[in-house]
Symmetry: C2
Subunit: 334 residues, 2 copies
DNA sequence: TTGTACGCGTTATCAA
DNA sequence: TTGATAACGCGTACAA
C-alpha cells in the first residue's frame, strides 16, 4: 500500500499538497493538481483510514443497532440506511440489541467506542430517558428509529401509527363492518397505544360506539394473536372483523379462526399491520398496513448526515403508512 | 476522552506499562497492574481505535458482503457471523452486493479500503476466478459463503446440496411417490446443479428411472416456479409430487397447482428448499430442506478468526441440511 | 519488571 | 500557492 509520502515524491510536491488535492481543503494550482492525481492513480494510492481518523477524529463510519438483523422488518430498514450511508462514502457498522436493555446499551457503547461518527438506534429495552440521555450527552449524533420522544423529537424517525390504526379500521367500516375487534400489542409500547387510538378515533368518526369487550391486549407474537382471538370470539361472537396491531398476531389469529370454523374473509375479515414478508403468503393473503421502511432508513441516515455537516436536504421524520389491499377482507352483506 | 498518557500519570507509571496491562503482551507486576486498572476505571479510559489501528495495522473489524441485507435468508447468516465476531470483541461492517459483479467488486473493495481485518463474501455476480484471485491475492483473509470452489475449498462454507436434493427426493419416494418432478434453479449455479444430482441419485438408488421430461429449469423466483409447474403438468400430468430447488419457486408452483384444480398434498405433494420464513406460512405449510444458516454464519466467522490468529477451534465447513417435515406431502395410495 | 523514544500516515498550523 | 513541521494516541524495540 502506497503512502502519501510516496505519492508526494512521485509528483514532486510535499505530502501536504497531496492531502490538499485529495481533500479540497485549500486551492492548489491546476498543473500541480494534475501531477498529483496522476501519481495517485499510478500508485493506486488509498488514504489510510486510521491515520486519517487519528488526524481528523472522524471515522467515516455510521453505526446502527436494531433488535435483530435477521428480521425482515429491520432488514428493510437497514437496507435504506445503507443506501444513503454508502452513497455518502461512509460505511455501516451493525450491532444487534435483541430488545434487551443491557444488550442494547452494550451495543451502542460498542459502536461509540469504535468511534462511529453517528449512530442509528432502534431500541426496545432502553427507556425514553436512556435515549434522551444518549442523544443529549452522547459523544456522537444519534437518531432514533420507531419511537417518538417529545424531548428529542427532531431526532426521531417514526410512522404515524394513529393514522395506520385509523386507516385499517376505516377500511373495515367502509366494507360495512360494525363489529370490529382489535388485538393490540403490549400497551406499554407507544406504537401499540397509538394504533389503538387510531382504531377508536375511526370508530367514533363513523358513529360506532367503542366497546371495550372488542379489544384484547396481546404481545406482537403469533401465539399471542392466536390466544387473543380465542378470547375475543368467546366473548364477542358477533364480531365480523378483527384488526391486528401486527402481521404476526394476524397470522396466529387467522389460524384460530380457521380452527373455530370461521371462514376468512367471509365470516370474519382480517387486517394486519407492518406488511412483513409473510403477509403475501398467508391464506388468504393479508390486507395490512405498510410502513415505508426503506424510506425510513434513508431518512434516518439523512438526518444523521445532516448533523455531520453533509449537505442537508429537507428530511421527513414522520411517515404516513398506507393500506395494502389483499384478500383478507370481504364486504359485509347489509 | 482520556488518553493512555493521562491514565499513566494517574497510575504513576509510563504509558508503555498501561499498554502492556491492557494488551497482556508483557508480564506486569501485580501491584502496578492493579493501580493501572484502577486508573483505567476511574478515567473510563477507552483506547483510541485509530491510534491503535495505526500502530498495529489491524482494525478490529470484519467485513461482510451479501446480496441483500433485507433478505431473511442472508439476515440469518449475518446474524451468525455477528454473534461470533462480536464475542471476539471485533465489529462487523456490512455492505450489499445485489448479485451484480460490479457492485460486488465495489463492495469488497470498499470494505478492504476500510482496512477490515477479514471479509466474508457471499457473491453471485463474481466468477469463481474472481473469488480465487481475491482469496489468494487479497490484502486480508477472505471466506466465501455458499460456493464450493475447488482451488480455495478450505475457505468455503457450504451446504451439501446434493444431500439436500437426495433427502427431499427420498422422502417423497418413502411416501410412495414414483412420478416425481423437479423444478431446478438456473443450472449455471452449482447449488442448482448439485440439488439436481441429489434428486437423480435418490431416484436411481430407489430403482426409479430418471425421466428428463420430469425436470424443468427455472430461476429461483416465485413467478418462475409458477411457470415451470404449468409446463410440467402439461407435459407430464401423471406427476404426483414435485421437488422445488427453493421455497420461493415452491410458493409459485403451489399457486399454479391450485389454479389447475390440484389439491396439495392429496393430488400433488410438494417439497421445497431453504426453509425460509415463508415456508411456515404457505397453505399447506411447506415441507422443505433447511440449511443451518446461523451455524454457517458462525462457522464462516470462526474460519476467518482462525486466520487472524484467534484461537482456532475445529471448524466445520460443509454443513448437512435436514428435512423439515410439514404438511405439503401426502402418502400415496398404492 | 519498567521506562524512553520512535514510528505508524494523515491533517492542520504556520511561515514563506 | 506551497512546504516544513507539529500534532493525533497507541504499540513496541531497546535499554535499563
Amino acid at each position: 500500500m502506497a503512502t502519501i509520502r510516496e505519492v508526494s515524491r512521485l509528483a514532486g510536491v510535499s505530502p501536504a499538497t497531496v492531502s490538499r488535492v485529495l481533500n479540497g481543503t485549500t486551492p492548489v494550482a491546476d498543473t500541480t493538481k494534475e501531477r498529483v492525481l496522476e501519481a495517485v492513480a499510478t500508485l493506486e494510492y488509498k488514504p489510510n483510514a486510521f491515520a486519517r481518523g487519528l488526524a481528523t477524529n472522524r471515522s467515516g463510519g455510521i453505526g446502527i443497532t436494531v433488535n435483530q438483523v435477521s428480521s425482515p422488518y429491520f432488514g428493510a430498514f437497514i437496507e435504506g440506511v445503507e443506501q444513503v450511508v454508502r452513497a455518502a462514502g461512509l460505511h455501516l457498522m451493525v450491532s444487534s440489541g435483541f430488545a434487551d436493555a443491557k444488550a442494547e446499551r452494550d451495543s451502542i457503547e460498542f459502536l461509540l467506542e469504535r468511534r462511529c461518527d453517528g449512530v442509528v438506534v432502534q431500541a426496545e429495552g432502553l427507556s425514553d430517558d436512556d435515549l434522551i440521555d444518549l442523544v443529549q450527552q452522547g459523544p456522537a449524533p444519534v437518531v432514533v428509529f420507531g419511537r417518538r420522544i417529545a424531548e428529542i423529537e427532531d431526532r426521531c424517525v417514526v410512522t404515524n401509527n394513529e393514522l395506520g390504526g385509523a386507516l385499517a379500521t376505516r377500511y373495515l367500516l367502509d366494507h360495512g363492518h360494525r363489529h370490529i375487534g382489535h388485538v393490540t400489542g403490549p400497551l406499554s409500547y407507544p406504537d401499540a397505544r397509538e394504533r389503538l387510538h387510531g382504531y377508536r378515533r375511526a370508530l367514533e368518526a363513523a358513529g360506532v360506539a367503542y366497546d371495550d369487550r372488542y379489544t384484547v391486549e396481546s404481545n406482537f407474537l403469533e401465539e399471542g394473536g392466536a390466544q387473543a382471538v380465542a378470547r375475543l370470539i368467546a366473548r364477542a361472537p358477533e364480531l365480523t372483523a378483527i384488526f391486528f396491531a401486527n402481521d404476526q398476531m394476524a397470522a396466529g389469529g387467522m389460524r384460530t379462526l380457521r380452527e373455530a370454523g370461521r371462514d376468512i374473509p367471509n365470516d370474519v375479515s382480517v387486517v394486519g399491520y407492518d406488511d412483513v414478508f409473510l403477509a403475501r403468503y398467508l391464506t388468504p393473503t393479508l390486507t395490512t398496513i405498510r410502513q415505508p421502511l426503506v424510506d425510513m432508513g434513508r431518512a434516518a441516515a439523512h438526518l444523521l448526515l445532516e448533523r455531520l455537516g453533509h449537505v442537508g436536504r429537507e428530511v421527513v421524520r414522520r411517515f404516513d403508512p398506507e393500506l395494502v389491499e389483499r384478500q383478507s377482507v370481504a364486504r359485509i352483506a347489509r
